[in-house]
């Protein structure tokens, strides 16, 4: 159950646990890279203008001014990009949306603008500023500053791998802002399998002992089998159940009908016991 490891309790202010699934490190990285590409590509024209105007300009002060303005714009664009998208109702940048991720408050309360600002400005300190230092000083020839580059690389390296060393995959910015990044799977409401099964109960009649043979776990396995509707799997499962409950074949019996009827009967019995406070976990649970 790799999925179960990523389920976290998140209690809403109404007191209901939403059992949220956190985004894993790979998805987070992929989302970031997509975002990075998006704003790198969208700034491509600006970068061309920058390069040409700098090459064309012979005035040193002019170059300096253009360079300053360009770095300023870069800083503004990447921060506004992240913050403005995370402040929308979907609380996710395009990269996160593509991977079905979003930002949420860790305590289950309201996601505040403060938290979004904090988690994004910390990215600036975690990643862009130290790497910017390295890139910038790569062009100045100071041996004395080499140790600062090393320190900058170690610094951003620590933060880059930070999410791998805590179980909620928090970035330092998430830690400070009290947020986390979670999955938002969209599910459709699937058909109720019991509805097709109950119609068959007049043809397939199960005894008390026969519906007590299995528990919730087997019910859910059976649900999967019925939804997949793979002929050979259904045949195999049906024959195992028939043996287990010592079933005598009825005239005109088919595997899908038998399984649907047994599913409805089993679920009815287990839900009835649930109302009396007894949840039969699986077939070994006889208490």
């Amino acid at each position: 159950m790799a999925e179960g490891l990523r389920i976290r309790e998140m209690i809403t202010p109404e007191g209901v646990d939403l059992r949220i699934q956190i985004g894993d490190a790979g998805e987070r990285l992929a989302a970031f890279l997509i975002d990075f590409c998006i704003f790198a590509v969208s700034l491509f024209v600006l970068q061309l203008i920058f390069v040409f105007s700098v090459v064309g300009s012979h005035d040193r002060d002019g170059k300096q001014a253009i360079a300053t303005v360009f770095v300023l714009i870069l800083f503004l664009v990447r921060n506004i990009y992240f913050i403005a998208f995370e402040l929308t109702p979907r609380a996710a940048t395009p990269g996160k949306r593509m991977l079905g991720l979003r930002v949420a408050a860790r305590d289950g309360g309201r996601l505040t603008a403060d938290a979004i600002f904090a988690r994004n400005f910390l990215r600036e300190l975690e990643l862009f500023l130290p790497l910017g230092l390295v890139v910038a000083s790569g062009f100045s020839k100071g041996a004395a500053e080499a140790w600062m580059n090393v320190a900058a690389l170690v610094w951003s390296g620590i933060f880059l791998f930070f999410p791998l060393f805590n179980r909620d995959r928090l970035r330092a910015g998430d830690l400070v802002a009290g947020t986390w990044v979670v999955k938002t799977p969209k599910r459709r409401l699937l058909a109720d399998l019991a509805e097709s099964g109950v119609g068959l109960t007049s043809a397939y009649r199960f005894t008390q002992a026969q519906v007590d043979a299995y528990g919730v776990h087997e019910l859910h396995v059976l649900e999967d089998v019925l939804r997949t509707r793979d002929r050979s799997t259904m045949a195999a499962v049906a024959s195992r159940i028939r043996i287990k409950i010592q079933w005598a074949l009825v005239p005109g019996e088919t595997d899908p009908d038998f399984l649907a009827a047994y599913y409805a009967a089993l679920r009815g019995r287990l839900e009835q016991r649930l109302l009396f406070g007894k949840r039969k976990k699986d077939k070994f649970d006889v208490g």
Partner: protein, 337 residues
């Protein structure tokens, strides 16, 4: 529905059939919201969305307790989560939040760090005074404080004319990229960032960096003062230096705050205390980065354009007055939005 047919259906199936319409309505409203058209919802629809959200949450609780239809439980979990994110999503707009940062949060955070700022200032002054004394007595000390590649000819061996020229001429840059480096990631910007970042090591590296920065300042001033260019160098340095040194001191103060809290967390757990201090310090640090931008702009435009000493002094005092009033002008704490 006859009694017989009611018995035919499972209780959980009937539960689902009764509420399914509400769930579908909520799903349709959410789909519209998630497409980003919050304004397309009428006031009634927004109210009904929150009502449907609570109803769905209660359905989820009931379904978890009584239904073994996994499709329903998983669907309701996903639907409730989506609705929860809308109901408890961020409400403040980008610009209004940004305005509040500049109007309230940043100055208040700076005020909150006044003790650390004072300590950082005193450390810087201590370094400057010590280095000034050393260099003015023995110029060889200059090399101990300022690395040769950073001095770029501005050292005790330089002639008076060369030193004077360095204050008024445009600096000689090799390429545009090194210009960018000089503007934004220059030596002082690095010191500011590291003074903050290294605060996590109980503030010790922060103190050392601030002291070293003070030493460089002192040594630099001493060089020009001993050549009789004291008045001129102060104007040259402080036209952007007021902003830049303030940023370094505030960044150092933020680092000291984190270091101090890590060493002495008080009644709270170390992680909690560090988290709270980190939030406050990060606020100050964001501001310090903005100040460094201003300093960069002042350095690149104002200093090369304004070569009159008195005008440089005027700009320096003006920036000092603006920052001072902006940060320390008494103001009331606004309610959280």
């Amino acid at each position: 529905m006859s009694l017989a047919s009611e018995e035919l259906h499972l209780k959980s199936s009937r539960f689902r059939a009764e509420r399914e319409d509400d769930w579908k309505r909520l799903e349709r409203l959410l789909a519209r919201v998630e497409r980003g058209s919050l304004r397309s919802l009428s006031a009634d629809e927004i109210v009904s969305l929150t009502v449907l959200y609570r109803a769905t949450l209660s359905s989820l609780s009931v379904a978890r307790a009584t239904s073994l239809d996994r499709a329903v439980v998983e669907y309701l979990e996903s639907l409730s989560t989506r609705a929860y994110f809308f109901v408890y999503g961020a409400r403040t707009g980008f610009l209004s939040r940004l305005a509040r940062f500049f109007a309230v949060d940043w100055p208040l955070a700076v005020q909150g760090l006044w003790r650390e700022s004072l300590v950082a200032l005193l450390i810087t002054i201590l370094g400057a005074v010590a280095a000034y004394q050393l260099v003015s007595h023995d110029p060889d000390w200059y090399y101990a404080f300022i690395p040769r590649d950073l001095a770029s000819g501005r050292d005790p061996a330089a002639s008076l004319a060369a030193l004077r020229r360095s204050l008024y001429g445009t600096p000689d840059f090799n390429s545009v990229l090194s210009t960018v480096a000089a503007e934004l990631f220059n030596h002082n910007a690095r010191i500011a960032i590291f003074a903050f970042a290294l605060g996590f090591a109980f503030g010790v590296p922060t103190v050392m960096l601030l002291l070293y920065n003070g030493c460089m300042l002192g040594a630099f001033l001493a060089l020009y003062f001993t050549h009789g260019l004291g008045f001129e160098v102060v104007g040259w340095l402080f036209i952007h230096g007021v902003t830049e040194l303030s940023a370094i001191i505030l960044a150092g103060a933020a680092g000291l705050k984190i270091g101090w809290t890590l060493a002495f967390p008080g009644a709270r757990s170390r992680a909690d205390a560090a988290g709270a201090a980190g939030r406050e310090a990060a606020l100050v640090m964001c501001g310090a980065v903005i100040m460094l931008f201003f300093a960069g702009i002042l350095e690149s435009f104002a200093r090369t354009l304004i070569t009159n000493d008195w005008a440089r002094y005027a700009v320096a005092s003006l920036t000092a007055a603006i920052w001072g009033a902006y940060f320390y002008w008494p103001r009331r704490r606004m309610a959280d939005g």
